[in-house]
């Protein structure tokens, strides 16, 4: 065995005060009294639940209008995709790409990557532990960029309130979209990346024991 995890040795770091403790002896931290966890509790289960909820809400987020524009020239409801199409058609390709990336690609990519991570841990696919960790880092990096649309709507609704001339109202899609982003972030948080390496350790252990047996 080339390396051992703290958890494998029965150690756990207190998440509050940082004292190393042995949960086998004391369930709570001996210094600050916080509950000791070797890994995030029920990590896979929680991540799955939040991720599934995010997937479900992703559908109405894209189908429902996120913004209703009422002006002298009539009322118009826009979904995210119709906004992107409008921007693309009106020549603002760069803006269209940014909105498309931030609002459609990034959340979807995030959820798909998270799915891969959780699935690999659950089904103990030990192989690419390093790439998976990189994926996790990427996940944390891009997660914060996916609320762009919600910001745009929030700003526009606050700004454009020229009553009889033009008003912009948030549509139900914004709620769903916001929920998708928040849920996917929570799912990322619920996922414990150390589990990736736990699988690796387990596999190595079993192969070692196989080797000794052999």
């Amino acid at each position: 065995m080339r390396w051992q995890s703290a958890a494998a040795r029965g150690h756990a770091l207190c998440e509050v005060c940082g004292r190393l403790g042995r949960p086998a002896e004391h369930a709570d931290c001996t210094r600050c009294g916080s509950r000791l966890h070797a890994r995030k509790p029920a990590s896979i289960e929680r991540a799955w639940a939040l991720l599934i909820a995010a997937y479900v809400l992703y559908i109405p987020a894209n189908l429902l209008p996120i913004m209703e524009t009422r002006s002298l020239f009539g009322a118009q409801q826009d979904t995210i995709l119709s906004g992107v199409v409008y921007l693309w058609n009106s020549g603002s390709w760069g803006l269209a790409l940014i909105v498309f990336g931030a609002s459609i690609v990034v959340p979807l990519l995030k959820m798909l990557l998270l799915t891969v991570l959780i699935a690999s841990v659950q089904f103990r696919l030990a192989g690419p532990a390093l790439p998976l960790t990189k994926v996790y880092r990427l996940l944390e990096l891009i997660g914060r960029w996916s609320m762009l649309d919600v910001y745009v709507v929030a700003i526009l609704v606050a700004l454009v309130q020229v009553q009889s001339l033009a008003t912009i109202l948030p549509g139900p899609g914004v709620l769903a979209f916001g929920a998708v982003v928040v849920l996917s972030m929570l799912a990322t948080m619920a996922f414990d990346p150390r589990l990736i390496w736990d699988t690796v350790a387990e596999n190595e252990e079993s192969s070692d024991s196989n080797a000794t047996r052999a």
Partner: protein
Amino acid sequence: MTQTPPVPEDFPSTVDKQRPRFSVIWIVPVLAILVGIGLAVQAIRARGPEINLQFSVAEGLEAGKTRVKFKDVAIGTVSDIALSDDQKSVRVSVQMDKQAEGLIVEDTRFWVVRPRIAAGGVSGLATLLSGVYIAMDPGKSTQESSDFVGLESPPQITSATPGRQFQLKADDLGSLDVGVPVYYRRIPVGRVASYAMQKDGKGVDVNVFIDAPYDAFVTTDTRFWHASGIDVALNSEGVKVDMQSLASLVAGGIAFATPESPGEEAAPRAPESSIFPLHQNHTAALRVPDRIVQKYLMTFNESVRGLAVGASVDYRGLTVGEVTRIDMRFSREAAQFLILVEVNLYPERFLRRVRHTDAGDAGSEQSRKVVDMMVKRGFRAQLRTASIVSGQRYIALDFFKNAKAAQVDWSHGTPELPTQSGTLDSLEDQILLIVESLRKTVGHVDALVVRMDKEVIPELTTTLGEARQTLKSADQALASDSPTQVDLRDTLREVSKAAASMRNLADMLEREPEALLRGKKGD
């Protein structure tokens, strides 16, 4: 190798262990699914039928943006615009809302609301800013449908407008147009909804819509007429100018009225979409319609110049029929062409007070008897001149006491009335006679003038010369420097002197009356 210490039972597993119980966290996806299902159900329930409209052009329409409105409530959105299969029109797909269900039936009408300027007014101005929308008028049918042909112009009448529609049959459209008002007692109470050529091309059908509550005034007895333009009538009371309104003068119009006939119960209300004739003017409209028409033939052996189809047939001044045809016929017995005139007689005009009598057709036994009897008493047709100036002629029916005996010829399909040779011929003779005697009179006058010229005038001239001389000498005698005048003046002077002496004498005698006896007192 280091020994791994035993892991206690309650220590969380390094690798995920299957937990027997359900974690609270699963409420989140369940909630999300419920919300999702809820939204989906809501969306599906809000979706109504999808329909296809056919328009000639898609001007102003935009997929995903143009709304379908009913009573100004958006109840659908245009989802797609494409050319129709035959590429001759535009197919507009519309996703209707749930609330539009039941409104989309076979006779529902759709049209595009655009700004429009017509003689009747301006409409759809709001769409200048907001863009066009598709308006609809739900039909009354119960048969649902999904394919419609859109109207090119907004219908004048929507099903929501209370009132009734009637059909008018006119010879021509005149200056009418869709939207032109219909007047009752000069109040606009409806408008022309549509018009169409009759299938045989022999007239025009005009559909008019009368708004409630005025539609109650349309009875089975109501007359409609063209109220376009000015109606000028010349009668014994002078010139009468009649017009409905200035608007109708420009844009045309239709008026209606129900003639009031005392002693008769009011006619019942006309049922929806009853058919009425559209008369040319007020007078024509209020004429009692002639339901019974009897055709008669008349043969004239004289010129019918001035007699036209449509000329009136009258009986002692009352018009009782009209000329419908003027023809020629060769008569073998007379060996010449005779003028054959066909007339329509309206026996109802004789018998107006006696409605629904069996005046019947000309062939009925009873009317035959009556006509035969009348002819026996001298009932004849005669050509008369209505106006010497225009030469218009009409046919007069009258009793002629000295008429030659004649009979009605019932042998043909159309009975033939005997005729009396026109008054015009005798009139012409008389006029000729008058002209002749006038000419003689003029000759006499001429002779008289000549004689006066020859005999009277010279005498008159000499008499005048003498008179002038007399006047001249009188003038001379009266001139101030004439001897007569001078003499006269001298004489007068002498007389005045004599008078003065007389006055002196009188004075002296008054003072000294004795002087008369003794003589003048010596001074």
